[in-house]
Amino acid sequence: MTNVNLIDRYRRKFLGGIAAATGAALAPGILLREAGANPHDQAVSNKVRWGMLIDTNKLKDGGDAMVAACKKEHGWGDEPNSKPEQQGQWARKVTFQDKASDHKVSLPVMCQHCEEPPCVDVCPTGASFKRDDGIVLVDKHICIGCRYCMTACPYNARSFVHENLENQKPHSPRGIGTVESCNLCVHRVDAGKQPACVEAAADAVIFGDLNDPSSTISKSLKKYEAQQIRADLGLNTGVRYWGI
């Protein structure tokens, strides 16, 4: 019996004790987080619902900068082996011309963080889920790669990783055989920062708490008429647009 193994045993007992003690202390301590200032160590709460409001009139480039910022932040879209339609695509620029007005509008489209996300309903394992603060995510640990969520998404917002990846960003794990999509830069939000795309188009996009009536985003939503894409589906999206 080596020395290490002895320590092992002692350690295990010791740890068990600690775990029990801290567990008891932590349970009632589910603190509510102030929107904006988020210490890393508190669980997210459903008092908050994160959302984003994009003013397409103010977007000079139709969202190119936002898409580029997302790409840089998460490192998707340059998979060497995948064909173009197999590449990761968390956000894309969509341009459309209205029938009545002939008006051309470009806007970035990504996961709309629905309140009633169809992807979450259909996922067999529960890997697609909505966090308490409204962010729709894939738990890639339990995603089996069935792609059901991709067919269910009305926005084409999801992509499947079609090959082995290397050198991912430490803050944005993504890998073969799992489905991915915009996660509202959850790692930044948890650190109290704004998503990368919002920073890239600061004067055209407002990010904030939809549940808080006094937040800038809520006030702006009320003041102007902001739209959802495919509002007819009744999904109550967290990403809203002006001027579409």
């Binding site: 320590i7 350690r11 890998g175 939000v189």
Partner: protein
């Protein structure tokens, strides 16, 4: 009857073989040194002992807290392990999880336990913005 005796003997010897291998494996392979070192030997040994038996549970527990609750403290964070146990890539050398000298792989190859952490997670510390330009 003899047939069974042979079979029994075979199984026994296989069992012995398996046990003898078990004994061998208490000799751990040499691991890559961590970037940061503990102040005392006791601290280090405790860390080794805890991690050797429990790292998978700690990581898994933390993983769920991070994914579902957004708790991203440094304690038991996989990125934290990697930052300390895998060297920062340099122009000349990058240690990847496909190399057997990679901290995690050294044991996992030895014990033939496959992990899929690095299909998604970064297997090396990030290169700082400045250092990336040659």
């Amino acid at each position: 009857m003899t047939k069974w005796r042979y079979l029994l003997a075979l199984m026994l010897s296989l069992l012995l073989l398996a046990c003898s291998h078990e004994q061998e494996s208490t000799l751990t392979p040499t691991l890559m040194a961590a970037q940061k070192q503990f102040e005392t030997v006791e601290q280090r040994d405790l860390h080794i002992a805890e991690m050797r038996t429990n790292h998978m549970n700690l990581l898994k527990h933390k993983r769920d807290r991070t994914v579902y609750q957004g708790i991203r403290t440094p304690k038991h964070s996989l990125n934290g392990c990697i930052d300390c146990h895998v060297p920062v890539p340099t122009v000349n050398k990058t240690v990847k999880h496909t190399d057997s000298e990679h901290f995690c792989m050294t044991c996992h190859v030895e014990l033939a336990v496959k992990i899929d952490c690095f299909q998604c997670h970064a297997d090396r510390p990030p290169v700082s913005e400045k250092a990336v330009k040659p």
